[in-house]
Amino acid sequence: MIRLVKNGRVIDPGNGEDRIRDLWIDHDGMITNDASDPSKQLNDDQVIDAEAHWVIPGLIDLAARFREPGEEHKGTIQSESAAALAGGITTVCLQPDTLPVIDTPAVVELVQQRTQFCPSPHVTMLGAMTFGLKSKQLSELGALKQAGCVGVSNAGRPITDSQLMRNILDYAVSYNLKAFLTPIDVHLARPGCAHEGKIATRMGLPGIPHAAETAIVARDLTLIEATGINAHFCRLSSARSVEMIAHAQQRGLPVTADVAAHQLFLTENDISDFNSNAHVYPPLRTERDRDALMQGLADGVISAISSDHQPHEADAKLAPFAETEPGISALETLLPLCMKLTQEHGMELATVLRAITSNPADILGVPGGTLESGRVADITIINPQQEWTLDREKMLSQGKNTPFNGWPFKGMVRYVLLKGQPLYSCH
C-alpha cells in the first residue's frame, strides 16, 4: 500500500537531512521520492499526519536479548518484540547467550522462524564464537554466517585463552565475519559485582577494577592488528578504554565501539542502597568514566548507543545484591534516554540519532537506519513534546527490571512502520 507521512520534521542524520517535508512509501514498503501523481487519491488510512512530529529512521539496537529459546520466564520473542516496537526499534541484534546458545544454524533458524508468528522488528543475530560460549572449541562460524549471523560474539563470557582468541579472529577473517567483543578479564573481575572504588569499599561489595576491562581491550587491540579483522567493542564502561580505542582508530585499525545507554546516566553511586536494579555488567563506574563515555560519543570514538536489554523475572532481582542477576530491561528506555541526552546533557541531536540509527546499521551491515529514497521504510515517528513518566508496570517487556522507574521523560513514540506497515501506534 502506498503511504504518505505528511508534514513531519524528517530527520535523517546519516544523510544530514533535517527539514519539514512529506515522506512517501511505495507499494513495496520502500521510501520513495516519487510523489508523481498528485491526483492520486489516498484514503485516510494511507496518510499519517506527522505535523509537529519527528520522523526518524527506525532505531537499530546492537544488543538485545529476547530470552527465547530457553528462558521464557524472563521474556519471549513475542513480549520482547512488542517492547522493541514500542521503543521505536525496528531492528534488533540478538546476542547468542540463549539456551541453547546460538552456536549452530539450527538455533538461528529456530529464532528466525519464531519471529514469523508475531509482530516483530527485523531480527538479526550474532553467532557464538565458541560452542556453548564455553571458550573451548570454535563454533562452526562458516555455517553461522550462511545461516544469517551478522557477526560473532563472546556475549560477555570472557575468552581468557589468548591463543584461542587469536584463532577465533583468524578464522572469522576467513569468512569476512565481524567480531563483537565484550572485553572483560574474568580473573581480574571475579568475584566482583560492582565497580572497585569507594562505593564498593563502603558497601563491602567485591570490586571489578577498571583493569578487568582495559587489560582485555589492550590484548584484543593487539590481536585485531595482528589478524586484520573488523571488530566492534561492546558496552564500554571505562574512560581508559575509550582512550585506547581512540588511539587505535587514529592508527587506522578497523574498530568501532558502543556504550549501553544506562552507562551514560548512572554511576556507582546508584547502587549505594544495594539497588539490584542498577546491578549491571560491566558495572556502573565513576562520574569520570561516565563523562569520558559521553565525550567519546561526542567525538565519534563511540559510534553507537545500545540498550543491552536483559529482561529478568522479579525473583532474579530479589536477593542480596551480589546474588542478583545483572542487567536492565532497556528496550523501552533506549530512545527516551537518548532524547534526554540532547535535552539535558547538551549532546547534538544528529550525533545521538546517528548512534541509534545509521551507525549501528553500518556496524551490523544491515539495511535501515536511513530515510533515503529507495531504502526500506523502517520509520519511527515521535511526538517530541509529550511528557511522561516511566511506570515499569506499564512496560511491554516481560522484564520490569529498570532503575529508571519514575523518571520523567520528554518525547514519545507515536508510530512505528516496518517495511512501510504500521506495527505500532500510540495515541
Binding site: E196, G197, K198, A200, T201, R202, M203, G204, L205, P206, G207, P209, S272, D273, F274, N275, N277, D315, A316, L318, A319, P320, F321, A322, E323, T324, N405
Partner: protein, 326 residues
Amino acid sequence: MSSLQLTSSGQLRHFLTIEGLSREMLISILDAAESFTGVKDRSIKKVPLLRGKTVANLFFEPSTRTRTTFELAAKRLSADVLNIAMSTSATTKGESLLDTLRNLEAMHVDMFVVRHAQSGAAHFIAQQVAPHVSIINAGDGRHAHPTQAMLDVFTIRRHKPDFGSLTVAIVGDIKHSRVARSQIHALNTLLTGEVRVIAPQTLLPAEVESLGVKVFHSLDEGLRDADVVIMLRLQRERMEGGNLPSEHEYYQQYGMTLERLQLAKPDAIIMHPGPINRGVEMSSAVADSPSSVILEQVSHGIAIRMAVMSMAMQHDQSDSTRQVST
C-alpha cells in the same frame, strides 16, 4: 540507608549498619548497654523487656560465639529464642532466602538476627519483612557487623572515654572485613582523634582513605603512639587467594609481639574480635598480657546486644511503615 533502619521519629527500627546513625544514637546505645551490664550479676539474670516476643537467630553462616551471645542477650531480655542454622548451600538462590523468610514470618517471629555471607543481605531482608518485624544485622558479607563494632567502642569507652584524644589502629585484613568497616564508621561517628588502618595493599579495599582513615603499610610506623590497637582475624583462604604468601610472613610483618607493642602508648589496650589465631595475628604473650581486653569484649557483647535488641523492639509500632523495595 539510615531511613530504612530508623522510624520517621528517629527511633531504631532495625539495626543494619553504623553508617548513617548519629553520634547521639551511638551514645544512647552505649549508655543502654552500660545499664545492662549489671544484669549478669543479679541472682535472676533477667529483665522482662522482651517478654512474649519471639526472636529468631537466622544464621546462614556458621557462628558459635556471636550466635550464643545474641541468644543469651535475648534470653536475658525474657524473649523466646529460636536458633535456625541455614546451610548456605540450600539458600544460594534469593528465592529460597525469601521463601525461608516468608515461612518464618508466618510463625509470627518479632525479630530476626541475621548473619549472611552476602553484603547487603540484612538490608534486603529488612526491605522484605512485615512492618512489625525488626532485623538485627549479625554480619553481612564484607559490609557490616554493627553490634561487634558497638561492643568494641563500648570496651574502648570503658578504658578511654575521651574519643577525641584517641589514636586507634586497626591491623590486618581490612578488605574482607565487615568488622573493620563497622568499627571505622563507629569510631569516626564518635569523633575519634585518628583512625588508622595497617595492612599490605592486598588486604586493603580500593580507596580505603575515603572511609576516613590514615593508611599505613608498616606495622611499626602505624603503631607509633596508638592508644588502642585492634587486631583483625586472618582467614586461611587469603593465602590461597594470593593475597598473602604465608602465615609465617604475615606474622613477621604484621603479627603483634610484646616488643612491637612498646611502640604504642604505654597504656595502650589491645583488642581482637576473636577467635584469635595465636602466632598469626599476635603472640600468646600479647593475647594474655595485661594490655589485652579481648575477654572483656566478649562479655560486653551481651550487654550491647541487649541494648540494641530492646531499643529496636521498643520503637513506636504504629510509626513503622513498610519499606517497599524499588
